[in-house]
Subunit: 212 residues, 2 copies
């Protein structure tokens, strides 16, 4: 059964060869048999890694590949004992999660403090503005400022994380950058590059060694 494989694998994969004509595969009569197995599909086709414009096709791909990604995550998790969280925001607005995202986010935020940028909260009523913004009751924050307020509160929280780290947990290990991979011919997608970089303050951090 495997006998012919050897001959084939030698010719099957030649990654250096750019494959000049991908679709000539179906037009070639391979055997002398006249009933040459009508080849129901062309099999998995090579695709370029760029945005799939066609809506339906994109959704199918998203669905298939998200499954695959989560399966890989699960396997990696089991094989190596690593804890993994994956969050996916689909283009049309759905969130898909893998792993105990909330628990791991919590763990992550505690161990990876980021820079604090001030939130002034100028627009609140006078009677509240005497207190620092983060001590004011949530209700006094104008609705249109809520998102900004939350971001600031988030950073406050992360700052506390920094304080905790400073308090003695600051044994360090290296942290890889957000885009560690360097696939040939591949670059980070534009929309990711454009996101604000909250990671500027992150260089090194430590997570617990025991019970990890």
């Amino acid at each position: 059964m495997e006998e012919e494989r050897e001959t084939s694998t030698m010719t099957c994969l030649t990654p250096k060869d750019p494959l000049q004509s991908p679709n000539m595969l179906i037009s070639q009569p391979k055997k002398e048999t006249t009933t040459q197995t009508p080849k129901t599909t062309r099999g998995r086709q090579k695709i370029e890694i760029k945005i799939i414009e066609e809506e339906t096709k994109r959704q199918v791909t998203f669905s298939k590949r998200r499954r695959g990604l989560f399966k890989k995550s699960a396997e990696l998790s089991v094989l190596t004992g690593a804890k993994i969280a994956v969050i996916t925001f689909s283009k049309c607005g759905r969130i898909y999660r893998f792993g105990h995202v909330d628990a791991l986010i919590d763990k992550y935020l505690r161990k990876s403090p980021v820079k604090l940028e001030g939130y002034s909260g100028d627009n609140v009523a006078d009677e509240e503005s005497r207190r620092p913004w983060w001590e004011r009751p949530v209700e006094s924050v104008p609705e249109e400022e809520l998102e900004e307020y939350m971001a600031a509160l988030s950073m406050l929280r992360e700052n506390i994380g920094k304080k905790i780290v400073a308090m003695g947990n600051d044994r360090t290990v290296e942290m890889v950058p957000a885009w560690p991979i360097n696939v040939m011919g591949w670059k980070p997608p534009m929309d990711m590059q454009n996101l604000e970089s909250l990671t500027d303050g992150i260089t090194r951090c430590r997570v617990g060694q025991n019970g990890d």
Copy 2:
């Protein structure tokens, strides 16, 4: 160059065939040539998805598969325009991240409120205990309570997220559970099952449609 492929691919993959003797592959002389290409490796071997006990092997696998996972994440991201964040806590304590984790965590926390459980803060000095705990200066929180304080602050923040949702952003889309995949014969790893479930309060949420 591709001509021989057809003959080979027909015999290459027969997933239904359990492959009764995996190591007979190397002992079989495939051709009549006496110099039968000594088969330098056995190729990729099938492995069971369970913890790899051997330290070195586990680290190699972690490293290879984490790369693979990040590459898949990048491809999915580019192909479908999805935004993806992956956090990996290796067994020995390293954090590896993919994507703009912090920005997406922030987005995630804003859109996915979880239940608030009280943090009483009983141990603070008297002069501060008149204010609600979350309005007290961080410095007044005893060091040993900091972690608990942070968790509570986190939940407060998420509660604000809930308020935002209630304020008119509550168009809903389905959220999948943390373990959506159902691979045959596969179950979530024990250590993930044991993590506290902060997701109890999460059922549905909405993320922005435009500019997403």
